[in-house]
């Protein structure tokens, strides 16, 4: 009992081949789209490379690029097979390749599904990586004279302005770090000496934030310094002031941005999985129908196309039997050789015995 059998007349076979040819070219474009998507995602991740600590999340765009390229190749092969399928002399050479092609197509679908799953699963890892990266960025903000870290200030400033965020979790992260370089501190002044003495590590901590935290939508010119002291600014209440600085943390902002990117590509990837699956199924039908037609006496007649020659259970049993056969064949070989050797020895003995008596007699 073949699975999902369908009858194919010559005209239907021709239609199927033409339709599959178009579908496989569509799948090639989809493969190119997936590749470009992977490239775009990778570039976006690389742009903010300096505030990320590990590159685990890069597995998503890498997979997308690989699958995109493989899909372009596989679907191009499918279109060539379609072109040759109606020509009985050229089709047989694809026979062996087709088995491998089915395996590759199934693998591509699974990988695409894995990409969708991974893009959700790796959110935690992305957040961790951003947490550590941003913490370092904020710590090294003042080191504009240290080679290797001198761009940290510009990176963090531009990041905060572009993503409208301040600090790691919120703006108070800046209160815990010395973000003014010692080069610009007057160590003879009383204020500086007080602040440095007020904490264990001798750092110049202040309740102020850099200018990049300022929110342009605030009705009042930005207040950056002495933020916790409501008396230091006229008509200012620290607890109720909301618009002065960006209230969102940069880790949250960046995570939302990347998750948004990956989620918006989710439906596209899912529909491409469907297209690839339909190419796979149609190719199977075409293969079985054309092979059936070639086996007939009149190649123009009707043939049957199916997905599996027998139903699922029977195919599974077949595959199991074949696998066991292969295993058994490997096992039986040594024992049959031993048995053959024994027999050979016995035969040799017998001939020897047969040979020795005559000289005696």
């Amino acid at each position: 009992m073949a699975l999902l059998k369908m009858k194919f007349s010559q005209q239907r076979r021709v239609r199927l081949a033409q339709g599959l040819w178009l579908l496989s070219w569509l799948a090639v474009m989809c493969g190119a789209f997936i590749f470009c998507l992977g490239v775009y995602l990778k570039i976006e991740l690389l742009r903010r490379d300096e505030v990320m600590e590990n590159t685990e999340i890069h597995v998503v765009p890498n997979l997308l690029m690989m699958v995109g390229l493989a899909s372009i190749g596989a679907n191009w092969v499918a279109s060539r097979v379609c072109q040759d399928s109606l020509d009985a002399s050229r089709f047989p050479r694809w026979k062996v390749l087709l088995l491998g092609w089915f395996a590759v197509a199934m693998l591509l679908c699974c990988l695409l599904l894995a990409v969708v799953v991974l893009s959700y699963a790796l959110q935690g890892s992305l957040e961790e990586s951003l947490k550590v990266g941003l913490r370092n960025g904020i710590r090294f903000y003042k080191d504009t004279d240290v080679p290797g870290r001198c761009f940290q200030k510009e990176t963090i400033d531009r990041l905060q302005m572009e993503f409208r965020c301040c600090g790691n979790n919120n703006f108070k992260d800046w209160f815990e770090v010395q973000w003014v370089s010692n080069r610009y501190l007057d160590f003879t002044s009383q204020e500086v000496k007080d602040r440095i003495r007020s904490n264990v590590d001798g750092r110049y901590l202040l309740d102020g934030v850099p200018f990049s935290c300022c929110n342009p939508a605030s009705p009042r010119p930005c207040l950056q310094n002495q933020l916790t002291d409501s008396r230091s600014h006229y008509n200012y209440e620290y607890q109720s002031e909301e618009l002065n600085l960006y209230s969102r943390g940069c880790r949250q902002a960046l995570t939302d941005y990347y998750m948004g990117l990956m989620n918006s590509t989710g439906p596209g990837v899912l529909s491409i999985i469907l297209i690839q699956l339909s190419v796979l199924l149609s190719m199977r039908y075409l293969q079985t129908a054309v092979e059936g037609a070639m086996a007939l006496e009149s190649p123009e007649g009707e043939s049957e196309g199916y997905i599996l020659e027998k139903d699922v259970k029977a195919t599974y049993a077949d595959v199991k039997a074949k696998a066991l056969d292969l295993l058994k064949f490997a096992q039986v070989d040594p024992t049959s050789e031993a048995a053959g050797a024994e027999e050979g020895e016995k035969a040799a003995e017998a001939t020897e015995k047969a040979a020795t008596p005559p000289p005696a007699s």
Binding site: T144, D145, C150, K153, E154, D157, R158, M161, W179, V180, S181, R183, Y184, L185, D186, S189, P210, F211, S212, C214, P216, A217, S218, P219, R220, P221, C222, Q224, H233, Y234, N235
Partner: protein
């Protein structure tokens, strides 16, 4: 003596018609491009309409949009005519209009050239629009509680951040206006009273700039206030300090941005004009090659195609003569009527 005569047999005619049809479809795409460029420019102007004074004119983008639409229409029609030109029955119905259509095409091409020139020239009035608008914008920076102007602060801040500029000509423009609202000034404080007393208009002027002027590339945290006072900040000399705030003025920055857009659009419109001229010439050849068949009944006979029926000089004198005749004809009619009236 016809101008640029080319001999055509059937094969050549077919090839010519196909090529011109193909080019017409490219020209339709070019028309869509001009339309979208006009829309893009219009949107860009609208985005920053608060920074331009009220006389900002949308003349140029409107012209571009109109030209784009007309180009699409003309080229689609021309493509249809070329497609039909290989079938004598279909072509016969287009034949009478072709001459006027070609004249119209030439006029349209001239208009396209004028549009391209406009793109390059409109930069100059734009400069004045921007200067006026930015000056007013800075004046209303502090009016975040006045309806109608409450978004000026945000607009200016975002613009200075995006275009990396400060003030109108440079950052000192902020020293000359009060950009801190009175709502946030403590009038009982001595410092405020001093500053207000120090100038005629009673404005709170200070040598400071808003945060949006700050340059992130500066190695030191941004110095916004008391910028001209070297002793107010450690290790600071305002004469030699270059990286602290943006040095460019916003008028220059915006002008170079919009000037760049207009130059690009002008160059693209010129390219589109060249394409349009090419398809007009192609259509003229298609038309003439089909009208000068050696044997009108036989489609496979040879024919000649030309650009102009007579030489340039003769065509010009012909046109002048026609125009004079039209003018005289009007006069003669009047004179004839008068003569009739007087005679009777």
């Amino acid at each position: 003596m016809a101008l640029l005569v080319v001999k055509f047999d059937l094969k050549k005619r077919v090839k010519l018609a196909q090529t011109v049809w193909f080019m017409y479809w490219f020209a339709v795409l070019a028309g869509i491009l001009v339309l979208s460029l006009g829309l893009f420019f219009k949107i860009e102007l609208r985005k920053r309409s608060e920074l331009m004074d009220n006389n900002e004119s949308h003349f140029l983008p409107n012209v571009l949009i109109a030209m784009g639409l007309i180009a699409c229409g003309i080229n689609a029609f021309g493509g249809k005519v070329c497609y039909d030109s290989l079938d004598p029955t279909k072509f016969a119905k287009w034949k009478p209009m072709l001459k006027t259509f070609l004249v119209f095409c030439m006029g349209f091409n001239a208009l396209l050239v004028v549009t391209a020139l406009l793109c390059f020239v409109m930069r100059i009035p734009f400069q004045f629009t921007l200067a006026e608008g930015l000056k007013n914008g800075m004046k209303f920076y502090k009016d975040t509680d006045t309806p109608g102007r409450c978004y000026m602060k945000r607009t200016l801040d975002l613009m200075q951040i995006e275009f990396r500029c400060c003030g109108n000509d440079n950052y000192r423009d902020w020293f000359e206006i009060q950009w801190v609202s009175n709502r946030y000034l403590d009038f009982s404080a001595k410092e405020v009273k001093d500053r207000i007393g120090s100038n005629v208009d009673g404005q709170y002027l200070m040598d400071g700039v808003p945060f949006s002027c700050c340059n992130p590339s500066s190695p030191r945290p941004c110095i916004q206030y008391q910028m001209t006072n070297n002793s107010a900040h450690y290790s600071y000399d305002h004469y030699t300090e270059e990286l602290n705030v943006w040095r460019r003025g916003c008028r220059d920055a915006l002008l170079s941005y919009y000037g760049g857009i207009m130059n690009t659009i002008g160059a693209l419109v010129l390219l589109v004009t060249m394409l349009e001229v090419a398809v007009t010439v192609g259509l003229q050849y298609v038309d003439t090659s089909l009208s000068t068949l050696a044997n009108p009944e036989d489609m496979e006979s040879e024919s000649e195609g030309f650009l102009l029926e007579k030489t340039v000089k003769e065509t010009f004198t012909d046109i002048m003569a026609k125009m004079k005749a039209m003018g005289k004809g009007a006069k003669v009619e009047e004179g004839g009527e008068e003569g009739v009236a007087t005679v009777s």
